[in-house]
Structure formats: C-alpha cells, structure tokens
Symmetry: C2
Subunit: 109 residues, 2 copies
DNA sequence: CCTAACCTAGACGATGTCGAAGAAATAAAG
DNA sequence: CTTTATTTCTTCGACATCGTCTAGGTTAGG
C-alpha cells in the first residue's frame, strides 16, 4: 500500500456511506446514512467537500444522473467507490479491528 | 457528547495503542503496537505529537516514570486513557461499526 | 418568479506527519 | 574519576492534508 493511502476518519465514513447508499449514492443519501448510523450531526457541505477530495484521490468516481420529475429534482451527481477506494476503506477498517483486538473488556465490547 | 469529541483516525489508533500497551504505556510501546498491528510505518514523533494533543484535550493523562538501570534508560512519560478518552474511542469504533454493518460482502468481511 | 432539491466555493482551525535537535542515562576511554 | 560515546526517550518547528462551516449558486417544477 503506497503511502498517502490512509483515509481520514470522516473520509472513511463517507466512503462507507457511498457503499451503503448503493445505486442511488448522491450527496443527500450519503449524508443521511452517516447521520442515521453514527448519530453525528454534520453539514451536507462537509460530505460534498469530502466526496470531492476523495474523487481527486481516485477513491470514488462520479457521473451525472438524470433529472427526476419532482419539484427541484435536478440532475444528481452519483458516486461509486473505486477499487482503490475499496482497498483503502478495507485497510482502515482492518487497522481499527486489529487495534481493538483483545480490548473487549475495556471497550465494553 | 460535546462537539469536538470526534477523534481523528490516527488519534484513535494512538488511544488504542495506549490501551494495548497497558501499564507500560510510553512512546515506544505505543508506537510499536501501532506498527505491529496495523503494519503502518509511522514515525515516533507522530505518536508523541498526537499523545500531546490528546492530553491537551483531556483524553489521556501522563505521569513521569522512574529511570531504569540500563543504557539510555531515562525516565519515561507514562500514559493512561481517561474516562473521556475511553468514551471518545468507543464512539469512534462504534461509528465505524455501524457504518460497516451489512457491507460484509463488499468489504470481504 | 418562487420555492424546492442539490451542488460549489472559500475559508480556517484541527490533524497527520516528519526531520532534526535536545536531555538523561549508562558504558567505555584514558 | 571525568570525559566522551552511545543508547533511549522526548520535544520542537514546520507544513500538507483533513474536517467543517457559512454563504452562495444552479436547475427543476409550481
């Protein structure tokens, strides 16, 4: 793994958010996934900015979606995790896992 | 949880490293724990600097240890995780866990 | 045109990370 | 026995990247 491959804490959440959102992964659903699952209150802009930076690093890629027939339903920017992004997030998760191994007592499992 | 309580990615590793090191938690063992468990090659200075910042935030605390009778065995600064630090690291781990829930296929479990 | 849904820009403090330098201890020289 | 080496551990200063917000667009339908 080349250096610079380590994801920041929020970056990990965003990549995972994209995975959770699946087919329909654009800003809002990713943001919602994070809010709902972590209970953390972040701004939408934080998510967008992070998606941007992840795309620069080639960890996610995006394409234009079609407009939907509803009020304000403009075309969305849809995201997908690249193989590199998958590797990176796997590494992050695994690092955490390894570091927590054997600490169940102290961490309250 | 008061805002600003979110640990950065490396901060989490360091807190966990302190827990892993147990009684003898000073710079080098913490650093070694991270290296060994995550396979990541970070500098000792990175660990020290992070311990410093964590202490400023009250997530770990430190005390002076005794010198040991060996070449270069100067007094060490021994660290311990505070209750607040424990809460913070639990929150981080749990956030990751929640975000990865259901993605076993894609993450290769 | 108003308003709803979505995205971009710019800024700035917080984190991540290193190379280099300092301090304290024992060992080895002379 | 005091001077200089060598080892172990810690601190400093710097700089790039990440985290995060407020404010300001853009594009649909009502």
């Amino acid at each position: 793994m080349p250096p610079g491959s380590a994801l920041g804490e929020f970056e990990s959440l965003v990549v995972l958010g994209v995975l959770q959102a699946g087919e329909d992964a654009y800003g809002v659903p990713v943001w919602r996934a994070i809010q709902e699952r972590t209970g953390r209150d972040v701004s939408l802009a934080a998510v967008y900015k992070t998606l941007d930076r992840l795309e620069s690093k080639g960890l996610v890629r995006s394409r234009q979606g079609e407009p939907t027939a509803e009020r304000g339903g403009r075309a969305k920017r849809l995201y997908a995790v690249t193989p590199g992004g998958l590797d990176a997030v796997r590494a992050s998760v695994q690092a955490l896992t390894q570091m927590t191994a054997g600490l169940d007592e102290v961490l309250g499992t």
